[in-house]
Amino acid sequence: MTAGLDVVHVRAGYGAVEALHDVTLRFPLGSVVALLGRNGAGKSSLLRVVAGTLDVGSGRVTWRGRDITRLPPHQRAAAGLTVVPDDPNVFLDLSVAENLALFGHGAPPEPVYAAFPELAGKGGQRAGTLSGGERQMLALGRLLLRPGAALLLDEVSRGLSAGAVERLYRVLDDLATPDRTIVVVEQYQPNILRRADLIYVLSRGELAWAGEPSELTTGALPAALV
């Protein structure tokens, strides 16, 4: 597997509280990685470190061999990192169409309406008035419009119906190509466990378990998750 996204010996946190303690994770190109862990395990912090919205105390982040540790977030986005963050992941004051225009940099929004018919016909509606599930679908729209070479999704299945989750993962299946890295952060989601090539489990800001889905039956995983 070729070098994709690497997080090497990273420490990061908020003020006096350190959220990630010397974490090293590798997300090779062509793989789907599940990043699991309980509340407060450091999953979202790790994503923010990768996105560039949380400063790294020490360690580095590299993307396809290039050190991006000090790169501002918008340049990381331009370099192909697509991060769908946790809850506030759409612009509530903007309409659905305007959100999609921002996500797609002007690309026509039709693919999103095709994949998520719930949103079709709501282009003029303010995103703040959408239901939780619809908002989530809107946030995922950017994967369909302008997917980067690394997709990092923070608990995107939350609030979605079982059917919508199924559709979401079919979208991800289509996006999983050999030149792309997909990182899915979840608390626990059987769907991703079936599809992932690699599973990392974070616990209290440290890597607690790493392995492949086939190793799951050993019973090592639940200890850090449950």
């Binding site: 946190g13 501002p72 977030p73 991060v83 759409v90 612009f91 004051d93 921002l102 002007g106 950017r142």
Partner: protein, 653 residues
């Protein structure tokens, strides 16, 4: 009664007010910051143009072009880079950003006072030559009004069109959720810089157009510009058209009111209302409008938290410095001691801000109003000229006057029940402006008022001791407010109002109580302040002065009572020893640094001292923990029992 001629004359003021309000609104929409500095930027640019044209004799057109095309945008970019970007980086609350804009306002005020002095200038250059345009039907319209209306039209159209462009979309995205916008590949810093550049240019345009119709004076000009906040509130921070219509309406109404003639007291009142119609409009607007549409989501402005106690260790030991600063003047020579009389008085006023804003998180920009009211009521009580009340002798004035101000404080707290953050800040400021314009500046209220200390405390030394006693009482009250059940309830309201409600705290009553207590303290401080100078000076209780006091409190740690004393000492020391404007400049600069000094000067000094005084480990390198450890209280108890040194003669295993 309405005449076309007066209406057209009113359009002149109305259009400039509309433009000013529009600029404030646009800045807010472009940057997400309610830019209190707007009025000061307008003032600064107007002064700059005056300097260039009247002193340096630059050609007017060239000077105006230079100011509006080069200076204004550059200034906007500069404050974005130096002040607001650091705040964005650590995701500051809207309240902190409000204080930062207050810092810009205060720095500009201080710089302007230092450079141009406090006296008014009447010869501001007029960008538009005075010429009457003849309308069909015989009515005349000044060219200036036409230009004002044209600029407004351009701005409103530009907004309507710009909103739809991709750049407009980017700006809106960055203002709403900066981090998410960055994840979409938007350079949020550049977008924000653009917003600030545009915003300060609009401020400059409004200032330059407004200057010829006003006296150019740092505080006065800024305050007039800030009064156009009325139309922004009417527009609920969103609708540019409503802002413009509001401005035009007030301007026309002002002109039409000049036709009404009354007699006696009613006449004085009418004149006051007419000349301060924007203040009346502001007051009406903050009382009638129920909600502002704040940028960044529905609850963006609700957190008024300025104090960050949870994230900062409590600061102790500064009482000593405060006490030392207070004791020093007893050893001073007579002139210095006279100046020092203001320190305890001002400290009490600042402590009143600590109570309302630091402890309970309600941003009150209106404490100057209470202080002035306290001074006035005390003076009239002592002289026996307060209608309906007997003459109150001696020190009793200092008890009765604050109590009489309490109902006003409760009245001010009333709107605060439903308001938080930005809206509350605007409301309290509006009330303070109204008090200043309709009470302190009215001859009927202040003429013939003699102020002097209570009889037994006529000498400076005795009066100073009396002040210290009052300060001690204030501290005792404050201490009670900050501890025990009441203190916990206040902090709960400050940190999470809904949560406090859910825990059974009567938020409504608590807020009224806090406003009442704080207004009484401010009134006491104000009364002492006036007694110290032996005069009632409306300028001492100017609403802008109140803004400076608020910033001073934030700078010295908003929840720190000793910080308020040190702040008062520093303010007075600077004011008496250095040219006027220096203290303003210092406080402003410190407020600008808040982005880099979370928690204020005192917290930062404390952290620095701790780092310097921390003793090195006795031998070898200090053990480095594998990761940052936060212990629970049980963990701390265990750690203590492990590290406790063995008692003398204790058994060792």
């Amino acid at each position: 009664m309405l005449t076309l001629e007066l209406a057209l004359a009113g359009l002149g003021i109305g259009s400039i007010a509309g433009l000013s309000g529009l600029g404030l609104l646009v800045t807010y929409r472009l940057t997400g910051v309610f830019n209190l500095a707007f009025g000061a930027i307008a003032m600064g640019v107007a002064y700059l143009l005056w300097q260039e044209v009247r002193i340096w004799h630059w050609p007017l057109a060239l000077a105006a072009l230079f100011d509006l095309v080069v200076v204004c945008p550059a200034f906007g970019v500069l404050i974005e880079r130096l002040v607001f970007r650091p705040l964005q980086r650590r995701v500051a609350t809207p309240a902190e950003r409000l204080v930062a804009s207050l810092g810009v306002l205060i720095v500009l005020l201080g710089a302007a006072t230092l450079t141009w002095g406090a006296q008014a200038r009447l010869d501001a250059p007029s960008l538009v030559p005075y010429r009457q345009l003849r309308l069909p039907g015989g009515a005349k319209l000044p060219l200036g009004t036409v230009v004002g209306l044209a600029v407004i039209t351009v701005v409103v159209l530009g907004l309507a069109i710009g909103r739809r462009t991709s750049l407009g979309l980017q700006v809106r995205a960055v203002v709403e959720r900066r981090e998410l916008a960055q994840l979409q590949g938007l350079d949020a810093n550049r977008v924000a810089a653009l917003g600030w550049a545009l915003g300060s240019t609009l401020a400059g345009v409004a200032g330059v157009l407004m200057a010829p119709t006003l006296r150019l004076q740092p505080f006065g000009f800024t305050l007039v510009m800030l009064e156009t906040m009325a139309v922004v509130v009417v527009a609920r921070l969103t609708s540019p058209v409503r802002a413009v219509v509001g401005g035009l309406f007030v301007g026309v109404a002002q002109a039409e009111l000049t036709r009404v003639h009354l007699q006696g007291h009613a006449r004085a009142l009418l004149e006051a209302v007419t000349s301060n119609l924007f203040v009346v409009a502001l007051l009406a607007a903050v009382l009638v409008v129920r909600r502002l549409d704040e940028a960044g989501g529905t609850d963006a402005g609700t957190t008024a938290r300025l104090a960050t106690r949870g994230e900062l260790p409590p600061v102790r030991g500064w009482w000593m410095l405060a006490a030392l600063a207070l004791a020093a003047p007893l050893l001073f020579g007579a002139p210095d001691r006279r100046a020092a009389l203001a320190v305890p008085a001002l400290a009490i006023v600042l402590v009143s801000i600590v109570v309302v804003s630091g402890y309970s998180g309600q941003i009150s920009l209106g404490q100057a109003g209470f202080a002035g009211l306290g001074a006035l009521v005390a003076a009239r009580l002592a002289a026996g000229t307060l209608p309906g009340l007997p003459r109150i002798p001696g020190v009793a004035v200092l008890v009765v006057a604050p109590l009489l101000v309490v109902p006003v404080g409760v009245l001010m707290g009333w709107p605060a029940i439903r308001r938080r953050g930005l809206f509350l800040a605007i409301t309290t400021f509006a009330l303070s402006v109204a008090m200043s314009r309709f009470v302190f500046e009215q001859p009927a209220a202040t003429s013939g008022v003699l102020v002097h200390p209570p009889d037994a405390f006529g000498s400076d030394n005795n009066f100073y001791v009396l002040e210290l006693l009052c300060l001690a009482v204030a501290f005792a009250i404050v201490r009670n407010l900050h501890h025990g059940r009441l203190g916990r309830a206040l902090i709960a309201v400050r940190d999470d109002e809904a949560g406090a409600l859910a825990c059974g705290v009567d938020v409504r009553r608590l807020k009224l109580f806090v406003f009442a207590a704080s207004s009484a303290l401010a009134a006491l401080g104000g009364a002492l302040l006036a007694m110290g100078t032996r005069a009632f000076d409306p300028v001492a209780f100017d609403p802008i002065r109140g803004l400076i006091w608020f910033a001073a409190v934030v700078v010295f740690g908003i929840d720190s009572a000793p910080g308020a004393v040190i702040g008062a000492g520093l303010l007075i020391a600077l004011d008496t020893s250095l040219p006027s404007g220096t203290s303003t400049l210092v406080i402003g600069c410190a407020a600008l640094l808040l982005g880099r000094l979370p928690g204020g000067l005192l917290h930062s000094a404390h952290r620095l001292l701790e780092r310097l005084l921390r003793r090195p480990a006795p031998s070898g390198p200090p053990p480095t923990p594998s990761r940052a450890i936060r212990l629970t209280s049980a963990g701390r108890a265990v750690a203590r029992s492990i590290h406790r040194p063995p008692a003398a003669g204790g058994s060792a295993p």
